[in-house]
Symmetry: C2
Subunit: 204 residues, 2 copies
């Protein structure tokens, strides 16, 4: 069976990144789709692991060549999902996780209606604010910008099939894994099996 | 949170009964909805545990009084789901499993669109036939009747959200449990949480 395409979106500060890394560390059958971006690398970020860092010209060329499954602009930078890696991993039977914001997520859902759509959220906005403040690295202005962004993103929450309320990390990792496991038994992914049973019954 | 309503249907001989009993034995948070029927008890069946055994008059009276969530006729007998027990268990937070055939299942889905619909099947019809023959209790005529019935039921398979291919019992029990766990994180069951987040964001 081919792997499953999984989109994870969520409020900034929901702990999506940590959740994702734990999932990839704890379970073998996943691959993380590395996005392409024109934004500058942050401290500690590695090209090809966290992102493919490219300039605007290279990004726009990739768009023109049809090399991306989705792309969006966010805070003045491009972000996109390169096709080749996703295709390769799915064919190997791995489930591929895309960590993308709502605009890109909707593009993926439209192209691949069977995509598993998961939204990660803190238990409340009060907790979100506390977490962002607790990092100590964000200015009040940046925090307010992220809360403003959450005000837009919340309207897309019900376009996702599942919501992970990330209160405790271990629980959230397990929940995410339960959700992914359950996908394998979905009728819409078992079309071939149903056809085989139908054929067998017809020939009796 | 209220419990979830779960409908399990499947081909006769798919091992649905055994699967169901293992699920109830292994996990605490489920209740089994005991159906009402006009058919005679089989060897070893207990009234109130396996079925509520009633006569035709009593069954039809219960229909008239609106006491059933669904009912259907199957091989000349009535089968139905009494409302009171289901309501009571759901309110306690238990998930209630209904073991019903396709006609009744569709009535439940129409009344309660959020019902989790699971279809249990053997890995092939060849295996189904082997299992039915292996019981040693069924005549060739009865076995052929069940295969004929499967020919009708197969057309309803894609009305169910999930399919359990019951090859190995332990695996099937675990799969069923994975599916039920994942339901808790479905967006459609988290309307209250989403509303709370929206209200919090509006008041900032």
């Amino acid at each position: 069976m081919d792997g499953i395409l999984i989109v994870m979106s969520g409020f900034s500060g929901a702990g999506k990144g940590t959740l994702l890394h734990r999932l990839l560390d704890d379970y073998e059958d996943f691959a993380f789709s590395v996005s392409m971006t024109t934004r500058a690398p942050r401290e500690g970020e590695v090209d090809g692991r966290d992102y493919f860092f490219v300039d605007k010209e290279k990004f726009e060329e990739t768009i023109r060549n049809g090399g991306l499954y989705e792309h969006a602009q966010y805070c003045g930078n491009y972000y996109g999902t390169p096709k080749a890696y996703v295709d390769e991993q799915l064919k190997k039977g791995k489930s591929v996780i895309l960590d993308i914001e709502v605009q890109g997520a909707m593009q993926i859902k439209e192209k691949f209606p069977d995509t598993l759509m998961v939204f990660v959220t803190p238990p409340s906005i009060a907790v979100l604010r506390k977490r962002l403040e607790g990092r100590g690295t964000e200015t009040a202005e940046v925090i307010n910008k992220r809360i403003d962004r959450a005000k837009e993103e919340v309207n897309w929450m019900d376009k996702y099939e599942y919501i992970i309320i990330n209160d405790d990390l271990d629980t959230a990792v397990k929940e995410m894994h339960d959700i992914i496991l359950a996908q394998r038994y979905q009728t819409k992914r078992l079309g071939t099996f149903i056809d085989e049973i139908k054929t067998e019954l017809k020939n009796i």
